[in-house]
Amino acid sequence: MAISSIGAGQTYPDLSAWETSKETSSEDEIAELHEDIDDSFIMTGWTNPQNITIRSNITGIKRTVTNDGSTNLLSFDDAKTLGLTLQDLILDGGNNMFASGVIIKAGVTALTVKRVKIHNVSAIFAGGLFITSGANPLVANATLENCIFVGGYNGIGVYQSTAMTAEIVNCIATKASGNGLAVANYAAQTYNFRNCLAFGNSPSQGDFDNSTTSTVNVLNCVSGDATATHLNHTSSAGSVTLKTDTSAYFTDYANDDYTLAQSGYDNWGIYGDSLTTPALDYASTARSNDDIGPYEFVPALLSLNARAPAKYMAAAIAMSPAS
């Protein structure tokens, strides 16, 4: 396994240079971003099958990739790519008309995306995380945790036709011009949405997509419209719908700050499933209350009083500096 540093003064100035340099590599490759970069990167033409990771050099510290042109930010178009992991990144599409944040056109047998935000992506023919149609993408297993998808045609758009199991956990999809969370329609595909939020996506297409043939489980999720409990879903256990007061739920919904203004339970009357809630949230804060969505609500210490739930008190005490 080889780890390369990316950024000014590092081994490679950007991912494009790293990708070209590593085309003939025969080992798993990790690119660590040491600073924010401008890049539009396409992975294709590699010689050997291998696992690829692109992440911040510091867990929990976000590195931003800003679109430097009119194309997709991170594009994967190589049938030989095995695992792909993206972690602690912000992908800013710059509102270019056709840009996706992440587009998978070929390969990638296992996809893992953790604590990634994708925003300012196109409203036309693109999305936050896009897996294109047909049999070239090979995503058999996908795990998305604590991710934020803002805008685009779909927040997540899956059009692949081959077998897939996707676990989408504690994510939010909002402000898409199509479905917030779009699924393909194939019997060999299973989508498990757990503890997810979807608001403000296309009224005609819906926050959560539905499928008559794929297995779609929407569990402990919240939608602004009625789609979290669509009748086509295989299961909608624990999910609630028609939650529309986004200005009350989040710190600043209009300006894409999706930290919780109050606990998830106070917002929506449900907790996330404790068995599937990740240990950390989007900001790498330890979760203690199984809030829905990418952020765990952390009450201010000054607001703690006897009425605060015991779970919050325990979390606050755990975060306090040692005396």
Binding site: A8, A99, F125
Partner: protein
């Protein structure tokens, strides 16, 4: 300072960067051995216009974004024109650092590759 980072095989413009600290002493071994690094007085925004990829299809109706890539790296530079004669033997040997090309690039050296799809 703005730099174009070119593939030594064919001079394709792979990447560009703006980094005042990028010089013989600070550039990594990988960048000096695996790329031909050429100074330009373009702004970084101008330089990005010469970085790939290029596309044939602007949009497809099945929501796939820009569908067909024409060139991963659409622009190239004839390295025999810009790398000093005494350094040209280093281009073919990836074990040897290629000295940075610090004279300003003549924009006429940036050539768009012909489309592969006619």
């Amino acid at each position: 300072m703005t730099w174009l980072h070119c593939h030594p095989d064919d001079g394709s413009v792979v990447s560009c960067s703006e980094d005042d600290r990028f010089n013989e002493a600070n550039a990594s071994d990988a960048m000096r051995k695996e790329f031909v690094n050429i100074y330009t007085d373009m702004t970084i925004e101008q330089a990005r216009e010469f970085k790939g990829p290029s596309w044939i299809v602007e949009a497809s109706e099945d929501n796939e974004g820009k569908g067909i890539m024409d060139h991963k790296h659409p622009y190239q530079i004839d390295l025999t024109n810009v790398v000093p004669l005494e350094d040209q033997d280093k281009i073919e040997d990836r074990t040897i650092a290629i000295p940075l090309v610090t004279t300003n690039l003549d924009l006429a050296e940036l050539v768009l590759k012909p489309s592969r799809r006619g």
